[in-house]
Symmetry: D2
Subunit: 329 residues, 4 copies
């Protein structure tokens, strides 16, 4: 049964960094984000295709951390219906009036079923779309935000909430030998995901995924980053995911925040699309070419900040024992 | 106001050809379609990403013509609700029970407001998806069907019907000097279009658009077609559309049917996306690089076949005088 | 019989422009040349791969024109041996001592057998190679100078001189129905050409060809030029040459000077390589995909400036009647 | 001082495999080599660009091993002059008359200064070039042979012989802290190399390098190999070499023989080109993006077979202590 509200897509993340100048160099000069606006505490970034004011906010702080991850709903009334549905589930919302967050309309934040600080909004200020300003394309030719990937202790619980309460659909998932769900890729827009959940110590944000136009933009990103002295910020890839079929690159920014550059995947909008199952230990699941991911990719993730206390959110151990695939090509 | 049914996307076309063998060589060897199945009167084709049995049917006939263009709805009940809405408008439906068309579920056909024979269905047999069978990739690395483009005498009328009755949204449109709508790009899935309408003698099908992964697949298509002796089947491009920002190539098959290979465009799923307006005579509208399209591209299109009589549908002259852009770079 | 001197490759051109600022914007911002140095009368440009000070000189003048096209020899003694060979043929050399031309070693200029002002030199100042400064890559990601293409009234005469006197080899050539050589591609470095000669009113310089890394750099060039308002400067392409197999784009700079962006071709360094013959009217010769070149491409070319008088060199009509292919795909 | 003979380029390798069928599937279906000819003991392979009968010979044997690596000279008289020069150095030649090796002209084999079995020849049968048969392009779109890389105990000795006796030039080299040459890239054709020597237990053949047109051909190779079940044959990459600037992929065939797919590098034909020096421990030397090569890449290589005894050639330990870089990005 579909909910009576319409969440459209992954929309923005607010990520803390210690040094705004260092972060700007990495994201703008290295990755090719458009800097919409900045003040002494924030840099508002967007991709070349995006007409919204921003999809990624760098916020100056004493230590790294993720303030919130946000989704856009279709209409203002969807926001109210969604709020009602969550309050009915006993959840506590924190509302932000239009304008109380820079360039953003009315919004609320809530701890989701895994404890992740999630935000929903409908409206954002619009700015000039740079899609056909090819003269401004740099680095990865950053197009738009695509998805979030979160580590949570109980993937099944997150899965049930996003599918049954929020109306997400599952495109692909990973199971352990005993058929427990180890990870799941869930979407609202008809791509492989808006949000993925992986079994692990959490809740933590594993990465924010950004959409590029093609694999050569990822190769070019590696070349540009290496030219600028950021070779050590390349954590994993480039490669082809088996799961999702996307071409990917994982990067760590100067504060250690992880972003994925992502292109490919496929159309998932058919109502009768059947989710694709992968065994956790299938060596082509993570990288179709059989390359192993580094341990840091499995062990390290970004801490969320508590909506109320502004302190790092406490994390719990994963419910499923296996922390990473047994890797045998 | 949204309708209470959900059309998901462009789904298939049935196109008549005189010589099945010649058509197979062009589409399978040249363009890289997967041939799902064939009998002595049909070839059922699909793209590498498609799990549906087919998205393009070649049907043997004495003369070329387009039998129907089809859309997929989300659920079986959407089909009934849509049928009711159309019958309420006074339209006459022609139902096909499940299985009466090969590999297809329950469906109905109807002449749309421009007289175009349109089909809606929910279910189709599924087959193995070849997305990760890279060893089978050939030619254009054909991925999936994307859109239809139709020439109609009255674009405003088609626009109103698809927007107001069928629940499409407009991504981009073209106007003449007096602000009449000369062409419009309308979508259900969040891409630039599922269906475009252009001012012209009609109703006729201008082309069926297929999605590729990247521009190099289009360059490769030109090379492969030229190697196989199909250079003269390349009608226009490769190039970048200003409108849609897509990278494109227009081809004529051995019977003169036109297909577009198409990659790029952008996400259009935000409810507050504002349609982009182009002047008909803007030289970067059709081709961002300023290249002029050949006259054949404006003058020639495929005839639809009447649902009842099986004869070519009569066409009328365009309502707006200007048949093509005044081209001055 | 090989000559006793060693010409290595196409090395530089000096091209006159009326507005240096307009030219800089086109070549540096549009095409991605590195500006090594400039004064109020010159801009010295080089590609990302080039360690020589420049390969293309823009020189301010009242009207466009080509001052000289230059080749690099292996050693200083090759310069002297070559000079001797030319003087023995009755040719008149004009010597320039080291430093008398900015950044250039000892050089001489001479009118070749077609009347083209040609220069030979061995040494040029070297500068930092930017090949791995991917952060500086812009537009076409310009790599290096590749070749010259000249229109001359008597291709056979030019062919004989470059092959027999200068020691070039022929990779491909075009003949008319009566087996006259209509065009020839001649090389010293083992690529398809350092210099091509085409039948036409001349001597005139048809274009200077520059090497790029791959076809996508050419697609990207079109996008960037269109973004910057240079759509009308795209004269022909992108496309694949049948002859040479290279992927190409022809551009006109703000003064109408023509450059070709060029990538692909193949290794021609085997001594037993047999030149490939093409019929002038083969539609896949010029563009493998069958696209016709515009008339301007056949009719317009750059005038050379006389070494002595600094006036435009007089041109003569072509010896072979056919000025362009009869084009039937 | 240049020698009086002219070695043109790397030309072919004869590599032993245990299972010809398995090898064919890997090289032809996986990598896209053209199979010119085969008998029950040999498969003769060439790239799409090659007009020579073969550049890579698979020879059935009981155990893997490299029979010979071969270079092509310009003219038959170069072969004789080279032979004389080598005999003058006290080397022993083994001549093969024209036709005694399939499709090959007159040739001789000799143990080079490192004990490597090297062959020189001038003529080879020619066959149809498939460069413009894009319909036959598969897998990596294999173009042509490019280079050999050999592990030898004494790189300085090999360097001196190839530079001073054979007339090679050095494009790039790697030194240890005390300025000893740890590796060197040497060329005859004007690319980065025809032959590289690396410090290591040897003589052994580290890999045969083949030229592709662009990086996407390498990405496509990974996808195709993974589809065909060859994921575990991908040993290293894809990546960008710092040294050479080439884009690369290292593969192990079913018998463990190593090939490199290679594209990029740059023009090295200027006589005044100054070799580029790299520190062995510079992390961007091997992979510009900072990725570490696996141990197998440093430790494993192919054994040569003795020209006379047909037994594996004895290998000696490396002269320089450091076997691989100290890797710190």
């Amino acid at each position: 049964m579909s909910p009576d509200f319409n969440i459209v897509r992954t929309a923005r993340a607010i990520v803390r960094v210690i040094d705004l100048h260092a972060a700007r160099d990495f994201y703008v000069n290295g990755l090719g984000f458009i800097e919409t606006e900045a003040d002494d505490k924030h840099i508002y970034l967007r991709g070349l295709e995006e007409r919204g004011h921003h999809s990624y906010v760098l916020k100056k702080a004493d230590q790294p951390g993720v303030e919130v991850i946000s989704y856009k709903v279709a209409e203002e009334e969807d926001l109210d219906k969604l709020a009602t549905a969550l309050v009915d589930k006993g959840m506590v919302l924190k509302w932000f009036e239009k304008g109380s967050q820079h360039a953003l309309g009315r919004a609320f934040r809530v701890k989701d079923v895994s404890g992740i600080p999630v935000e929903f909004f409908c409206g954002m200020d619009t700015v000039e779309r740079m899609l056909q300003r090819y003269d401004l394309y740099r680095g990865s030719k950053m197009q738009r935000i695509d998805h979030f990937n979160c580590m949570v202790p109980d993937v099944q619980k997150a899965y049930d909430f996003y599918i049954n309460v929020l109306g997400y659909a599952c495109s692909e998932y990973t199971t352990t030998k005993d058929e427990s769900i180890w990870a799941a890729w869930l979407h609202r827009k008809p791509t492989v995901h808006d949000t993925a959940f992986m079994n692990g110590k959490g809740p933590r944000l594993h990465h924010v995924g950004f959409w590029l136009t093609d694999p050569m933009s990822i190769i070019n990103t590696c070349d540009v980053l290496a030219s600028l002295g950021y070779a050590s910020n390349i954590e994993r890839g480039p490669g082809r995911h088996g799961l999702s079929n996307a071409f990917f690159l994982y990067l760590r920014d100067p504060d250690g925040n992880r972003v994925e550059l992502y292109t490919g995947d496929y159309f998932t909008g058919d109502a009768d699309f059947e989710p694709i199952r992968w065994d956790l230990n299938d060596p082509q699941r993570a990288t179709f070419w059989g390359h192993e991911a580094p341990d840091s990719w499995f062990n390290e993730a970004m801490q969320f900040v508590d909506l109320d206390t502004d302190k790092p959110i406490a994390v719990s151990g994963a419910k499923l024992d296996q922390q990473k695939p047994n890797f045998i090509v």
